[in-house]
Symmetry: C2
């Protein structure tokens, strides 16, 4: 569907990712606060000015890594069969996107855990999910029949995005491995299933 990106664009994306890796290593070692933008630029072999052409905020330098999973999720959903019930499609694509496929995905997930422990990167984390939510909204809108209440779509996108975020935050705070029980795909599956089935929490607590 989306045309092949121009060569220039692909080179740009590669540079972007280079910087992201460099920044992630520095942030993980000494924290985002103690790392200056100049330091990142120097380590990445570019000038400070160029750094700010790729990222408007220092902390956002790691966004490409944090956003990789979410992007994959929405892609998978967009490609999934339209015959599948939405709840099925959402859960499957979520689990798949949380299952590290190639080396790049493993790497992104590894960085995610370190970076999520840096409070200074909270803003970037939120921004990443905000973007993810918006893309998800678009894909949901395409999949739903025309005339579906936009509020419902927004709400669905927001809730689903929140579920993935919670799963990842829970994983990052734990010491669970990247696969098996307690792993992102495990927690993600539980969150998505719980969410699409209607949270048990709502009815289980309180009288009557």
């Amino acid at each position: 569907m989306t045309g092949r990106p121009t060569l220039t664009q692909r080179r740009r994306d590669a540079t972007r990712l280079d910087i992201a890796r460099t920044a992630a290593a520095l942030f993980a070692r000494q924290g985002a606060e103690a790392t200056t933008a100049e330091e990142i630029a120097l380590a990445a072999g570019i000038s400070l000015r160029t750094f700010y052409r790729y990222f408007s905020v220092k902390e956002d330098a790691v966004a490409p890594l944090l956003a990789a999973g979410g992007r994959r999720w929405v892609e998978l959903l967009a490609e999934s069969s339209a015959d599948l019930p939405l709840r099925e499609a959402l859960e499957r694509s979520a689990v798949e996107s949380l299952t590290p496929a190639d080396d790049a995905a493993v790497e992104a997930m590894h960085w995610t855990r370190s970076l999520l422990r840096d409070p200074r990167l909270d803003g970037t984390w939120q921004r990443v999910h905000s973007g993810s939510e918006e893309r998800l909204r678009t894909v949901l809108a395409e999949r739903c029949p025309d005339g579906t209440d936009p509020l419902e779509i927004r709400l669905g996108a927001a809730a689903a995005t929140a579920a993935i975020r919670v799963a990842l935050e829970q994983w990052a705070a734990s010491d669970a491995a990247a696969t098996g029980p307690g792993s992102p795909q495990d927690l993600g599956a539980r969150c998505m299933r719980e969410l699409t089935a209607g949270l048990r929490l709502w009815g289980r607590v309180g009288g009557e």
Copy 2:
């Protein structure tokens, strides 16, 4: 439950709110980007240094106004009868917190609409909800029987917070009044009901 704040603390809160109002007026008029921290400080009658003692980031100066509704929500929930099913308690407190009660609430809601249109304040908006989500999580945990899966509680708090956020964002983007159809409490009620009933969206779309 929460002890009375000391006099000093209450004076501090008042100053905080003063600054917030001043900042909101400036942000609404000229945008957050075009407003310097020094300008806010001057207009609020304090020094730049003192401003940064109240808010560590310029944009956060309006956070007390944006956060007022969410705080009220969690308060109401905490006070609500434990006999009420959680879904009922959540919806009622949400609707009530979105219904402007006193002048201060009307004012906060008014500012919220203007401020939400400033992209520069997105970060603050997210941070406010992040805090709200955390407080909600605490209250939910108290209400749930011991041993309730923490993941479920996190997920519930995240989803509910997202619902309120979506309702307010939808309202702010519209030209609906603060009461009646399309108002925050109307949208909020719809979002919370939809969420706690299990989103229709999940099942309605796709084959089978």
